[in-house]
Symmetry: C2
């Protein structure tokens, strides 16, 4: 007998019928003699409706405690409904809101961070019930105000609860079967992974494979919570996210991630002296633009260099305008931009201890005459920017070249 934490998102609880579907998933684990803590989001569309209402009353209210008081009600409703459904089906269940556990957070309203979870109330209730239903996305700060954890925060709630209660596993139910070696829409032979380690999952999450919220993976890694990404629509085993050493086999490359939502900007002939890069990127950060890759090569003979960076396509025009102003300020020669790019990354903890992975990647692309515009590497990832039209081809070439479909 173990303790299982389950998490269901908004589409999984979007109607009374779907709530009963979730209840049956919970009961499936109870019948295997497990105790279940199930974390739920608001019914799909509800949180957006509440946000709209709040904005109709006051613009820019996201940093206001009242905003969190309002938008946390969606989870409160589904939590109660799922507990009722479990009772209706003959099981003992009890709902918990953030303040009832309590899930203590800081006071950064609308994107609060969990500080601590007292597990005593949950542990006691778990002895008296078959399942507990916990409202995702919400906490309470030290002043007793309700807080919310930001978009996708229910994933984080689930992982944090699993850590606090020392659960055997935290099952994240989604609309996909698990984590794939690459996007199955691009590569028909993409394979569902059995296991992936936290570091790799973090790279996948940050590279646009929107399966798990980035913060929840960080949290799972920090507290060593075993995650499983699995489907709400079947009983198939999903993908386990765990520590590196728990992976029985460590292939060199785990998967290929693909991001076509990037644009690049180059500031040309920047004086190569201390403080220039800091000025550029602090100005961009002040405008709430998030920068992904940054490339600066060694200086040329005239003591200038080119700085290139990528931003998301939605921030491109704003970033370009800022860059042009900056270029004048710092006496750079010119600014050029390009939205016509794709970023392809290969990910795998195995590459840490192997040479030749990068050169193999570059060769595979070269064999197909795909020109590489930018390169960026980390210990477990190599990313290349190529012309947009070659993006999907590059994914297939790398997926096949590293034999991920086998």
């Amino acid at each position: 007998m173990g303790i299982i934490v389950q998490k269901f998102g908004g589409t999984s609880v979007g109607s009374v019928e779907k709530i009963f579907n979730v209840a049956n998933k919970v009961i499936g684990e109870i019948k295997k003699n497990h105790k279940v803590i199930v974390v739920v989001s608001a019914m799909s569309g509800e949180t957006d409706k509440l946000i709209k209402l709040a904005y109709e009353v006051k613009d820019n209210c996201v940093e206001d405690r009242e905003y969190d008081t309002i938008i946390s009600t969606g989870e409160q409703v589904t939590t109660g409904l799922l507990a009722l459904a479990l009772k209706k089906l003959g099981y003992k269940a009890k709902s918990f809101l953030g303040f009832q556990i309590p899930i203590k957070s800081d006071s950064t309203y609308s994107k609060a961070r969990i500080i601590q979870i007292d597990s005593e109330n949950l542990k006691k209730a778990l002895q008296e019930n078959d399942a507990l239903v916990v409202a995702g996305f919400q906490g309470i700060d030290e002043t007793g105000s309700i807080t919310t954890l930001g978009r996708g925060g229910s994933d984080t709630t689930a992982v944090a609860i699993a850590a606090a209660i020392n659960a055997d596993i935290c099952d994240i139910y989604t609309d996909v079967d698990g984590v794939y070696t690459t996007d199955p829409n691009i590569c028909r032979n993409a394979k569902k992974m059995e296991k992936i380690c936290y570091e790799e999952m973090l790279e996948f999450a940050s590279l646009g494979a929107k399966v798990l919220q980035l913060r929840s993976v960080e949290f799972a890694q920090k507290y060593n919570v075993k995650l499983q990404v699995r489907s709400s629509f079947n009983d198939n085993l999903g993908t386990i996210v765990c520590k590196e050493e728990e992976k029985m086999e460590s292939p060199l490359i785990t998967g290929v991630a693909y991001d076509k939502n990037q644009a690049k900007i180059s500031i040309l002939k920047v004086a190569d002296k201390p403080g220039v890069a800091a000025k550029i990127f602090s100005t961009i950060a002040e405008n709430n633009i998030s920068v992904d890759m940054i490339i600066q090569n060694i200086s040329e003979e005239d003591k200038t260099t080119d700085i290139t960076f990528t931003v998301s396509k939605t921030d491109y025009l704003k970033a370009l305008e800022i860059s042009k102003k900056l270029a004048t300020d710092i006496n750079a020669k010119n600014v050029i931009g390009d939205t016509n790019i794709s970023k392809i990354s290969i990910i795998g903890v195995g590459m840490k201890s192997h040479y030749g992975i990068a050169s193999k990647m570059f060769q595979l692309l070269a064999d197909e005459n795909i020109n590489i515009q930018m390169i960026s590497t980390s210990e477990i990832k190599i990313s290349c920017v190529v012309q947009e039209k070659y993006g999907e081809l590059a994914v297939r070439i790398l997926h096949d070249g590293f034999e991920l479909g086998k």
Copy 2:
């Protein structure tokens, strides 16, 4: 500078525009240098929507703690929205949910009773803010579960808060200007009362004048909270509900109440011996039917008597059926029923110390040839049941006869 508690119902906060209307009512008092605590209901229709959702998941869930968790969210949303609106208009405001004050209640879910309100948090927050916004209808029990106070519970929240904080007045905003001497739709010269005492208001509330929830008036009387019933749609003074001694003038009769939603049932030739009435009315109570008037006259020579009682028209058929079964059990002769009745009551604390009020009432009705079918009296009220078609006429005759329109 005083402390004012205001309460606004669902229709007063039914849209963003109306919420700003309420905010302006609050600001009106702030500008007079008062501190304001405003209690709000859910947006009209929201609570019904949530109840429907809960019932779709589980029938008869009203006694379940999850039911209260679900249906209390409507007030949570309006509380946050009104606080945002006040901030938007430049004032310092903060919302409070039941658990944040806390408003401690018993655990009778869906109709919990307030046990105690800690006023420390409110008092502290009142020093730091222009207004506090409190969620009506909700409390928290000793296990930390959310409770709700039953239909109209926001009135009770407002009165309880006013008592706890020792407010100068508790203004209940409604869609009418105040409490009238009788229904203005029946008597064109019905007058808005300036003051009415708790005892009289209780009679009005229980006799079908749906201005204030009965429990809130009992609460106000118990803790001596001065109430004002007034309109959300204008700035007119409303009707003050207060202690008897505070009424400057005590007219004999304060008003005429009218209830056409009653039906009467008579069980004829009931053996006049101990325990028979108890058997009848305990059986009816077990069927969740509420009885209003009960009349039993002295026994006839054959040692039998007739027992007549009134119930609401919606309970009539069920009550009649039960009565017929009972009649067989207790060897009564027959059961007759009549839905064709109206109850007219005159109310006034003044009648406690005056003779002749009842005979004047009966004479006024007799002068118009209106036959009285049943009579019931309390210290401050005389009720007569007459044929339904004479109901409105009777109201006008009594209203004029006791000179209430002057």
